[in-house]
């Protein structure tokens, strides 16, 4: 090894990437978020060929590739398909512990919505539990207009 390679210090350049970004929600998503914001309604997209209701909504059916889909109003209640309670903290977590990530199959939907679960006693969550959406007071037309789901 050459003498210069035996350096005792490895220099690290510290930076930060921060780029403002706008995600255009699209016509389908906009309709969904307007109904959520203005009426606290949760709409799924129904494919008649597959006889399936998708949540979150999408423009075209991912199964049969059909674009002729219809809106279906779903209940704001559903069943917990799976859940995960993080034991670590992160600047990403939108709620104080204890909270959970959950996959919730809303009544009337055939696919699950991934969202937050809160308002439960530690150790009391289980799959199959019935949960209900808690909406934000001041809604802004995004997915966090649902604060979380809580056990019924």
């Amino acid at each position: 090894m050459a003498e210069w390679e035996q350096a005792t210090e490895d220099i690290v350049y510290r930076g930060r990437i921060k780029v403002p970004y706008q995600w255009w929600v699209g016509e389908t998503g906009s309709h969904f978020f307007i109904k959520l914001r203005d009426e606290k309604k949760l709409l799924g997209r129904y494919c008649a060929r597959c006889n399936l209701v998708f949540m979150p909504p999408r423009q075209a059916c991912p199964r049969c590739f059909n674009k002729e889909m219809a809106w279906r109003e779903l209940k704001d209640e559903g069943t917990l398909v799976s859940f995960a309670v993080p034991a670590y903290t992160s600047e990403l977590h939108p709620l104080e512990p204890p909270f959970a990530y959950g996959i919730i199959k809303l009544d009337g939907a055939d696919t699950g919505l991934t969202h937050l679960v809160a308002g439960f006693k530690e150790g009391r969550l289980k799959t199959g539990l019935r949960v209900k959406a808690v909406f934000k007071e001041d809604r802004t037309g995004d997915i966090m207009d649902i604060r979380y789901f809580q056990p019924v």
């Binding site: 490895d10 690290v12 930076g15 990437i17 995600w23 929600v25 998503g29 998708f54 949540m55 979150p56 991912p62 398909v81 799976s82 859940f83 995960a84 309670v85 993080p86 034991a87 670590y88 992160s90 990403l92 977590h93 939108p94 990530y101 959950g102 996959i103 919730i104 199959k105 696919t111 699950g112 919505l113 991934t114 969202h115 937050l116 799959t127 995004d142 997915i143 966090m144």
Partner: protein, 379 residues
């Protein structure tokens, strides 16, 4: 299937923090290693695939930034943003197309340079999911619970995967985390997100890897006897987690079926001699046993209980220590393929499985193993 084979392989040692090397430094190292291993020079390479991820690299066109380091100047190149095995799949197809005779595939990743969960959070849909703060660990915990509850797989059975793979890593000089541990150590390790504990999760790793594919004619020039691609398959599932049955992996079943059909494998447990699978979390290895048809659906837990996948088992899985012992994320699948090649060559050192004729490599991409790639290599 037309013939395409691997004639050269190269890997860095996998480490927690490769502060002494830049991305190009790592890529240069593995390129030179793969060329030396093949007995070829960069002039013998007619096209290159680079594999990388922009978010992890902290820049755009991350794949183009390492092209000088792998000798791409004035060569035909293409890029893959995904797991390294998917890059290898594409590289092999380029040779099989007849347009090229030698493909160099390189992949790099440094997980140490950023914050792991900020990067993995960015794989989720920015409109419907990302604001929830979901990351690789919490999403895996959703899948682990779905899988374990559906089939009655226990945390102890998952812990046995961790014990096996960390122990096997002691035989792999490239591994980051060889450990002498017992089931109790895994069970008592720090809880990350139940049912996942620290020793159920793969470590944060820096590293790079490279392989060289050659057609029959180009392979004659190489010093190493080629390890042929006998079969390959690739399949993906839905993007939204709630669209999928997280307890099962139909995309892996489909990918494996395609690979087995091409390779003429009808009973994988008997006909495959060694498998290197992407055990990013311990429960995943058990799920992949099922998807790969090593056992019936829900039988993964029993398979590890019976010791069928240990070094002395009927089908050793991850003699290298797997992703649990080193997981430079994008590199993971290519590392699996390199290990499979070394096994077929009989060059796997202390981790060698005797009389290895058919080896399987498996890679995943996307949250909770959204897509799968399976390759069978052999003589």
């Amino acid at each position: 299937m037309d013939k395409v084979g691997i004639v050269g392989v190269g890997q860095t040692k996998y480490e927690r923090r490769k502060v002494g090397e830049t991305y190009p430094d790592m890529i240069y190292e593995v390129t030179v290693k793969a060329l030396d291993n093949a007995g070829l020079t960069i002039k013998d390479i007619d096209n290159v695939i680079t594999v990388s991820n922009d978010f992890w690299d902290g820049r755009t066109i991350s794949s183009m930034a390492v092209q000088d380091a792998c000798g791409c100047r004035h060569k035909d190149i293409s890029t893959v943003e995904g797991d390294g095995l998917f890059g290898a799949f594409y590289g092999a197809m380029r040779v099989l197309s007849g347009s090229f005779s030698t493909t160099l595939v390189v992949v790099h990743n440094k997980c140490s340079q950023s914050k792991m969960n900020l990067i993995t959070n960015a794989m989720f849909d920015p409109i419907y999911t990302r604001a929830l703060g979901l990351d690789a660990i919490t999403s895996a915990a959703l899948q682990a619970r779905a899988y374990m509850e559906t089939f009655g797989v226990t945390e102890k059975q998952c812990a046995k995967v961790s014990v096996k793979n960390h122990g096997q890593a002691k035989n792999n000089p490239y591994a980051q985390l060889p450990l002498d541990i017992e089931v109790d150590d895994v069970m008592k390790s720090r809880v990350l997100c139940p049912p996942i504990k620290l020793l159920d999760a793969s470590p944060i790793t820096d590293g790079a890897a490279a392989v060289i594919w050659a057609d029959e004619k180009a392979a004659q020039k190489a010093k190493a006897a080629p390890v042929w691609l006998k079969g390959a398959g690739h399949m993906t599932d839905a993007y939204h987690l709630g669209d999928r049955d997280l307890a099962r992996s139909p995309a892996l079943v489909g990918a494996a079926k395609k690979a087995y059909a091409l390779a003429g494998v009808s009973d994988p447990l008997k006909e495959i001699d060694v498998a290197e699978v992407s055990d990013v979390f311990s429960y995943m290895e058990l799920m992949w046993y099922e998807g790969l048809g090593f056992c019936s659906e829900g039988g993964g837990g029993q398979m590890i209980d019976q010791g069928l996948t240990g070094m002395n088992g009927v089908l050793p899985v991850n003699p290298s220590g797997g992703c649990l012992s080193a997981n430079a994320v994008m590199v993971a699948g290519l590392a699996r393929l390199i290990e499979a090649v070394l096994q077929v060559r009989g060059e796997a050192g202390d981790r060698q499985v005797p009389n290895c004729k058919n080896a399987l490599a498996h890679g995943i991409n996307g949250p909770c193993g959204q897509s799968h790639c399976v390759m069978i290599v052999g003589r």
